[in-house]
């Protein structure tokens, strides 16, 4: 269904509402639907910055929840292998 059809369906019930307002309501609905169903899954990659000993990497706003993480060479091979999630946080903080 295209956006135009979605807006027209809403307008059948709320003819007094403008398109901008309806698009905002559709966006609100979509956000709640994605949060509650966890239906949309994606993968993304970035490079480690070892030269600056960077420990933290900002997460994109579109990421709801990380399912799993693979790291290239984590086991000493050239493969991309799954690394475990730490329970809690390191005792000694490092903000780099």
């Amino acid at each position: 269904m295209k956006l135009k059809e979605m807006v027209e369906l809403v307008q059948q019930h709320h003819s007094e509402l403008g398109v901008t307002e309806i698009v905002k309501m559709i966006n609100t609905a979509q956000e709640e639907y994605s949060q509650r169903t966890r239906m949309l899954e994606r993968a993304t990659q970035f490079d480690l910055d070892g030269n600056n000993a960077q420990r933290y990497y900002a997460l994109d706003e579109s990421i709801l929840e990380i399912k799993s993480v693979d790291m290239e060479g984590a086991d000493g091979s050239a493969d991309h292998v799954n690394i475990p999630k730490l329970v809690g946080r390191p005792v000694r903080r490092d903000l780099t």
Binding site: M1, K2, L3, M6, L9, H14, T20, I22, V23, K24, M25, I26, N27, T28, A29, Q30, Y33, S34, T37, M39, L40, E41, R42, A43, T44, Q45, D47, L48, D49, G50, N51, R55, Y56, Y57, A58, L59, I63, L64, E65, I66, K67, S68, V69, D70, M71, E72, G73, A74, D75, G76, H80, I83, P84, K85, L86, P90, V91, R92, D94, T96
Partner: protein
């Protein structure tokens, strides 16, 4: 590779463990040394190594008409069979503004809730099909 060692007892190649966690809207990646009980950040040996994140994402928002990228033909990220439920939620939000029509808002909210249940099932099955129970028969 820094942090790797040969376990002399088992004669097996082993490594300290790389781990991840989230904090302050960021992902932390470090190597945990269980002997020293310390975490080490990536160093020059790991520079440029790929990290792959598998994640659940938010739906891409439709741009509003006052934006240059607005398009009437844009489509939702969700599979087509769930678009009706998105529309139902938007209709419900409209009816919520009219106190005399709250029952209608309730109706469309319930339709949306049905969509959430169906959506969760769809996500759980991950398009691999349902598990079918085959009843054993005693001949």
């Amino acid at each position: 590779m820094a942090g790797t060692y040969v376990d002399n007892y088992s004669k097996r190649y082993a490594t300290n463990k790389w781990v991840w966690w989230t904090e302050r809207d960021a992902i932390g990646i470090a190597k945990y040394d269980p002997v020293a009980e310390k975490f080490y950040s990536p160093d020059a040996d790991q520079h440029g190594k790929k990290i792959t994140l598998f994640y659940y994402k938010k739906a891409t928002q439709f741009t509003e008409p006052n934006s240059n990228s607005f398009s009437w033909t844009a489509t939702s990220d969700f599979p087509g069979q769930f678009h009706d439920y998105i529309v139902a939620k938007a209709i419900a939000l409209g009816y919520e503004r009219k106190p005399e029509q709250l029952p209608l808002a309730q109706y469309f909210h319930e339709k949306f809730e049905k969509g959430v249940r169906e959506g969760r099932n769809y996500a759980y099955r991950a398009r691999a099909g349902t598990v079918k129970y085959i009843k054993p028969v005693d001949f």
